[in-house]
């Protein structure tokens, strides 16, 4: 197996790689479609295509997109001092960093809070739509895109941690304080939902088989 053209797949060879422990199991004889298989070493269910992967990805993705709106429109925190209370949105926070002269931090927070969630939602849309069409378009690049989403997804939690730390630290009573606001919950939910969406997507859908019935040749 040195040529790319001679590559065989697990479903052609009745081989199952365990997603948890990596054990490779070979089915010695044909079994009826839909037979429930488990990894003998760690009991993880074995599939060539995770069931309902696309439906679940869609569900999380739609929920994330819907919540993305309040996450950006609602304030994520409020600051108070003797003069009164100010509400801050995510974009507002970035603007404060920028005008405060912290360019680098403004860029980092912008990437983590605005760019990463948007790119994730967009990239997941590309992945589920092409997978649904069993497309063979730019498969290596799409596989790369999937890995990128998995790698950067959790960095969006940055703003949630920042606000929690500010709430805990800035406690000067009437002189000054920070309170979390509902936008923060929506934002945290977007991060979790996009991570769940990426986790539900089965990357093997990027590489559809020639025929549908190659599962049990």
């Amino acid at each position: 197996m040195s040529e790319a053209s001679s590559l065989q797949t697990g479903s052609q060879m009745r081989l199952y790689g365990c997603p948890t422990c990596g054990r490779v199991s070979q089915l010695l004889h044909a079994v009826p479609d839909g037979t429930f298989l488990q990894c003998p070493r760690c009991a993880t269910p074995l599939y060539h295509e995770r069931p309902r992967s696309l439906q679940r990805t869609w569900a999380y993705l739609i929920a994330a997109t819907v919540l993305y709106i309040p996450a950006n429109l609602l304030p994520i925190m409020s600051t108070s001092n003797v003069f009164g209370e100010t509400l801050h949105t995510i974009l507002g926070g970035i603007e404060e960093l920028r005008t405060g002269g912290d360019w680098l931090l403004a860029v980092i927070v912008f990437i983590a809070s605005i760019a990463v969630p948007l790119l994730k939602i967009g990239a997941l849309l590309v992945l589920v739509i092409t997978a649904q069409r069993r497309s063979r378009w730019k498969q290596v690049e799409r596989a790369q895109l999937y890995r990128m989403i998995e790698a950067v997804g959790h960095w969006s939690m940055l703003d949630v941690f920042v606000v929690v730390l500010l709430v805990g630290t800035i406690r000067f009573g009437p002189l000054g304080g920070v309170m979390p606001q509902p936008g923060l919950l929506a934002f945290g939910a977007v991060v979790v939902l996009t991570m769940l969406a990426a986790g539900s997507f089965d990357p093997r859908l990027i590489w559809p088989e020639e025929k549908d019935d190659t599962r049990h040749p």
């Binding site: 197996m1 990596g22 298989l37 990894c39 760690c42 941690f161 990357p203």
Partner: protein, 232 residues
């Protein structure tokens, strides 16, 4: 990934419990000579990887495995250090503020508690889980598993512990939290005088240790348990 596991049981058919229960005889033989890409299902021959090298899928370029980066003893030492530093990181303040003589400081548990008290319990739970509980469970599980395996014992509840380890590895966000502490310190510094606390430095060290342990993967743990238990 490092080397093929020679085992007398390697090719013995194995009927999983669920299949037996439904009355279907399903034989799943181990193929330790092969690797199936978890991202595209391409089948590869398993090869021995030299220290520091990585194997990638020929079709989709996914990372299939890496040669040993860290030895068992080093991993165990890292896990012990990580546990101690998590304790320090959660009992020492992350940032100290001085506002016209009034000093205010908070540890991570205090910040989580304040968020809960301020009417955002879900955000508090989310932060507690991803920044504190999962990294802590990750470290304890690594200690528990590795501590037994180096003595030649498969620990009780090995498989459930491994499943839990996978979960907390995916959902632990200690490196994001570290960046969050830095942003928070800078934002505080724009209001008043802010000093980074011991907690921040401890979390910095925890991040390095957990990243190193995670990079070593879980393959060695599965392999050791198979060798000890005599199953493939």
């Amino acid at each position: 990934m490092t080397d093929p596991v020679p085992s007398a049981h390697a090719h013995a058919p194995y009927a999983p419990a669920a299949a037996r229960a439904t009355g279907t005889a399903v034989a799943l033989a181990a193929r330790p000579d092969l690797v199936v890409c978890h991202e595209c299902d391409a089948v590869h021959e398993r090869i021995t990887l030299a220290r520091g090298t990585v194997a990638r899928c020929r079709r989709c370029n996914a990372l299939l495995g890496r040669g040993h980066v860290l030895g068992t003893e080093k991993l165990l030492a890292f896990a012990i250090a990580s546990l101690l530093l998590i304790i320090v990181g959660n009992s020492a303040p992350i940032v100290t503020l001085d506002f016209q003589g009034v000093v205010s400081q908070a540890t991570l548990p205090e910040a989580i508690e304040a968020t809960w008290a301020a009417g955002q319990p879900l955000v508090a739970v989310l932060t507690a889980a991803t920044a504190l509980v999962f990294p802590l469970v990750f470290t304890i599980l690594r200690l528990y598993l590795l501590g037994s395996l180096v003595r030649g014992i498969v620990p009780r509840g090995f498989v459930p512990a491994m499943h839990m380890l996978h979960f907390v590895t995916r959902w632990g966000m200690v490196e994001v939290f570290l960046l969050g502490t830095l942003v928070a310190v800078v934002r505080c510094a724009s209001l008043t005088s802010a000093t980074p606390g011991i907690g921040l430095f401890a979390y910095g060290a925890v991040t390095l240790l957990i990243t190193a342990i995670t990079a070593a993967g879980t393959h060695t743990l599965w392999k050791r348990s198979s060798e000890i238990g005599g199953t493939a």
